[in-house]
């Protein structure tokens, strides 16, 4: 459950790993965020198109639709232009970071992302006081 004084900012975690989604959930809920999940890129896009979120945390390699495609399609829709997006990937190459940023991500992180770093970026990108 979220902390008693949750600021109510909403994060959508998009990752095909059940444990990974729960991990992010526990990290972000500890910082007062409301967390929703999607298990693949297609589900993530569906939810991001019609529900309001303050931040998207998006894995790259997923079934049905990868993270880059999700971001491109979301940015191509009027409602998806402004939401901050972090991609988190196992790939550490410069070209992967470029690909993510070209697709429309705001930030590219490499797994494993430390909980403190995740909370720091989440707070920064959603305008929550640190």
């Amino acid at each position: 459950m979220t902390e008693p004084h949750s600021h109510g900012k909403r994060i959508l975690v998009v990752d095909d790993g059940m444990t990974t989604r729960l991990y992010y959930r526990s990290v972000f809920e500890a910082a007062g965020f409301v967390v929703e999940e999607a298990a693949n890129g297609l589900e993530g896009l569906e939810r991001a198109l019609v529900e309001p979120f303050d931040l998207l945390v998006v894995d790259v390699n997923m079934p049905k639709m990868d993270g880059y495609t999700l971001i491109e399609r979301l940015r191509g829709d009027a409602t998806g232009q402004a939401v901050p997006i972090v991609t988190i990937s196992t790939e550490a190459g410069a070209s992967d970071a470029e690909r993510a940023l070209e697709a429309g991500a705001n930030l590219y992180l490499v797994k494993p992302a430390a909980p403190a770093a995740l909370r720091h970026f989440a707070a920064l990108m959603t305008g929550v006081a640190a």
């Binding site: 298990a39 297609l42 019609v50 399609r73």
Partner: protein, 298 residues
């Protein structure tokens, strides 16, 4: 380095009063929810947990299993997924009435049809398919919605096709007679305009009855399905979720082939292509997600 929050599995529900049948442990309920979510995309919120647990206990008992573990093995291992289908049936509500999930009909006339019209010369056909149509509430709802709320309706030849595997349901649909319950969500003005009292119920007006083409179709029968082509909009609500995965895959391929490029398919409220296929692109129409066959062919 450790996670600072206490490690609580967020799916552990609060303990509740005893049940006559073997209770489901919090860990088992969590496993079940993850599995069901993975397979169907459906999440049981805290307010649905009691219902979901009861239904799960029903299925464990109905299949003669002593407890969750053996039942879970059946669910995961059964070839053909018959019990999974039973479980989905048990977890979802099946009923039909006019204007069910009507936000989708709203999206049709406010966003989808205008988008089609913008690229279609007046006088040309627009083909809409309700499949499965059951006893007709859905296709008649679509027809009423278009006549009432799409100002451009007269400029196009709108074909509404309606199909089902059940011939008795089709006979009822053609007859067009319904009870009060089927009409409970219908605005009174529409009831007035399109229905006349008939025995204990109401009959849909002749003009509408005559304008819908009801046909018997089995989605799994490729030869029949091949006759349906260049469809602009398919309403396929609350059918695919009840199929086993292999049949569902085939049905989705067949439905894709029946759509024209750029055509859209509308699923039921609890259904998502994210658990079925990546053939379709989710598109936002207002605040509704429909699935589009891509225009470019790869």
């Amino acid at each position: 380095m450790s996670v600072t929050a206490p490690l609580i599995d967020p799916l552990l529900p609060v303990a509740r009063a005893e049940d006559a049948r073997a209770p489901i442990s919090p860990q088992d309920y969590a496993k079940f929810c993850d599995f069901f979510y993975r397979k169907t995309g459906i999440i049981f919120g805290a307010n649905k947990a009691y219902f979901a647990e009861r239904r799960l206990q029903d299925r464990i008992a109905a299949t003669g299993h002593a407890g969750f573990r053996d039942y879970f093995t059946l669910l995961r291992f059964e070839i053909g997924g018959a019990e999974m289908q039973q479980l989905v049936n048990a977890m979802t509500i099946k009923e039909t009435y006019f204007y069910r999930e009507d936000y989708q009909f709203d999206a049709l006339v406010r966003h989808v049809l205008p988008a089609i019209a913008a690229e279609r010369a007046p006088g040309t056909p627009i083909r809409i398919w309700s499949l499965p149509c059951s006893t007709g509430e859905e296709p008649y709802s679509i027809a009423m919605q278009i006549l009432e709320h799409w100002s451009q309706a007269d400029r196009y030849d709108i074909e509404i096709l309606a199909s089902d595997i059940d011939s008795r349901a089709l006979a009822d649909a053609r007859a067009g007679v319904y009870g009060e319950r089927a009409l409970h969500r219908l605005p009174p003005a529409l009831k007035q305009r399109y229905f006349t009292p008939y025995g204990d119920g109401y009959r849909i007006c002749d003009a509408l009855r005559g304008s819908i083409d009801f046909t018997q179709v089995n989605v799994a029968d490729a030869a029949t399905m091949r006759r349906y082509r260049d469809i602009d909009v398919i309403f396929c609500r609350n059918m695919l979720i009840y199929f086993d995965e292999v049949s569902r895959r085939q049905a989705v391929e067949t439905l894709y082939d029946s759509l024209r490029p750029g055509g859209v398919i509308c699923l039921g409220h609890s259904e998502s292509m994210s658990r079925m296929s990546s053939l379709f692109a989710p598109r936002r129409f207002g605040t509704t997600i429909l699935y589009q066959r891509p225009v470019d062919h790869d």
